[in-house]
Symmetry: C2
Subunit: 329 residues, 2 copies
């Protein structure tokens, strides 16, 4: 699946082209990965655009950048053996010839399904775990507000907050997601922000004492309202800006510097790829939690490479529950 033209905002199917080309020859030190499962991530919007993002945009005419789990089917390096599974930058394609530095983590065999390596043990679970612990620094008894509570990251933040003895409160966009957040992801309350005319009042009602951590995946006016109910010394984790369709031009909003000052907030940006060296340890911890039934993970699996181009717009319409994955094998 090549990126055929440059989108402005969320990439739609017309920005991609599905082509069939021969598998290139392996160079010295390279591996050939047969992709089993492809990841669909909100961050792909930024990679497909050219918005001065945190990583270079995907070049037109090249395979769409994506995380994937695959099997090493050929290897010309002693570091990887034929038959082992790896997680890394293998793109939206069936086979990938690559240098080993595209591998982020070796897949450890466990009783969990292989797909867990893209959800719980992929960047979603790892982001929830590392961002919440490192930037949120939650203390038992604190309240934690999470935007996109039923999303691929938020679903883990609620459960991890609960494990830490905190009270997670969620924001999400449908009645169904409110139900799932509360019944499945540990949220004590969830607010349907599309149904509320006054989000600030809904937050006030749900958390009369405010909250200590705001795990923000959306940004925008919902986040502005949320910031205005934060407790003193609260921590904001900026993990995504899903509510803003494009940053190509400056986006206006309400100024927050007075809130940061008077509430003594600490507002931090989190990009998971700064933390690659911590992946293995965090994945081990998350595997333990899942195997002891302390954490659940949901996935929505689409079958076939031709599903990939539509998957991103599906994600941004908020139609999926849990991690969106394209299965090839």
């Amino acid at each position: 699946v090549l990126l055929a033209s440059r989108p402005s905002g969320v990439p739609a199917p017309e920005h991609f082209a599905l082509v069939r080309t021969p598998i290139p020859q392996l160079g010295n030190g390279q591996i050939l990965v047969r992709n089993h499962l492809l990841s669909v991530d909100p961050a792909q919007r930024g990679w497909a655009n050219n918005e001065g993002n945190y990583s270079d945009p995907v070049s037109l005419g090249t395979p769409m950048r994506a995380l994937a789990v695959g099997e090493v089917v050929e290897s010309s390096t002693p570091h990887y053996c034929k038959g082992e599974f790896v997680y890394g930058w293998f793109g939206w394609q069936t086979y990938c010839v690559t240098d080993p530095d595209a591998v982020l983590r070796r897949v450890t065999q466990s009783a969990l399904p292989l797909s867990a390596n893209l959800s719980l043990l992929g960047i979603n679970g790892l982001t929830a775990y590392l961002a919440l612990h490192q930037l949120g620094r939650p203390v038992a008894g604190e309240t934690i507000l999470v935007s996109t509570a039923a999303g691929s990251v938020g679903s883990f933040v609620g459960q991890l907050a609960r494990i830490l003895g905190c009270t997670p409160v969620g924001l999400t966009g449908t009645a169904e997601k409110v139900r799932i957040a509360q019944q499945r992801y540990g949220y004590s309350t969830a607010i349907n922000y599309r149904q509320e005319t006054a989000i600030a009042q809904a937050l006030q009602h749900a958390c009369p004492q405010g909250y200590d951590v705001f795990f923000d995946n959306t940004g925008g006016p919902i986040a502005d309202a949320a910031i205005r109910s934060m407790r003193r010394h609260g921590r904001i984790i900026q993990c995504g800006t899903a509510s803003i369709a494009s940053w190509a031009k400056p986006v206006s909003g309400v100024r927050n510097e007075r809130e940061i000052l008077t509430r003594r907030l600490q507002w931090s940006g989190f990009i998971i790829f700064d933390h690659i060296r911590e992946f293995a340890a965090a994945a081990e911890k998350l595997t333990e939690l899942a195997l002891s039934n302390k954490i659940v993970f949901d996935e929505e699996i689409l079958f076939g490479l031709d599903q990939a181009p539509t998957a991103l717009s599906r994600l941004y319409r908020g139609q999926n529950i849990g991690k969106l994955i394209v299965q090839l094998v």
Copy 2:
């Protein structure tokens, strides 16, 4: 000097009344402080307004809240002796009867003038020292941008940054202040933001590699431009919002959440009164630096209590160099 009416924005002389009343009787455990020097601080704008600030507004008809240095002239508590000097919440008045909890710090005798307790060793110097070290976490070799570089806090931030082996770059509002920032406060460059039509370009020119710490006393459009040149993992210290005349209504601006995310910024609010227990140690350190001629401090002293009501608008017009102090004795 009583707060006579509630200002909206910067308090002007007409919001105050100068009245003469008898000194109240000392209660048990109280002290009578004769004020020698009164502090004039940007934060007083917030205390006089009713903007949902970090501290309660000053009640109408009561003395204007202010820090001061004075002499204990009567004491009905064994904790304070007649004749000792103290720094604390004694208000814009000649005498103050108060419980000892209004005292923030005992004044330690040194070769520095008494007024240094309101400037270098007062909240200005303490803010520069504690905020820069705790939230800025500067490392030798880093670049530090400071708004209001020649102001009562910024004048110390530049010098402290230089002492730490960093490169301080300043923003300030007059050519004279540019000169002082560079010649006196250790700044390697200073930008006159009033003279620049394109502040972003001026910043780019002054710091082609960006900066690691942004010590922000102003907020507003200058800060927006500054944020867009920050280096990855940069730290923003929100220490004041002097460029915004009133926060009574929401103030609009450009959204910064994408910058926080992609640059992995950490944006923190700093209020000096959260750090009272650290005052004595920080003041000792600053005294050492001043006595060994590593740091200079400037003060502009107005004489007489009747100068106090005009002092705040003077401060907000940016007319003073260094710490503005009203001397009574």
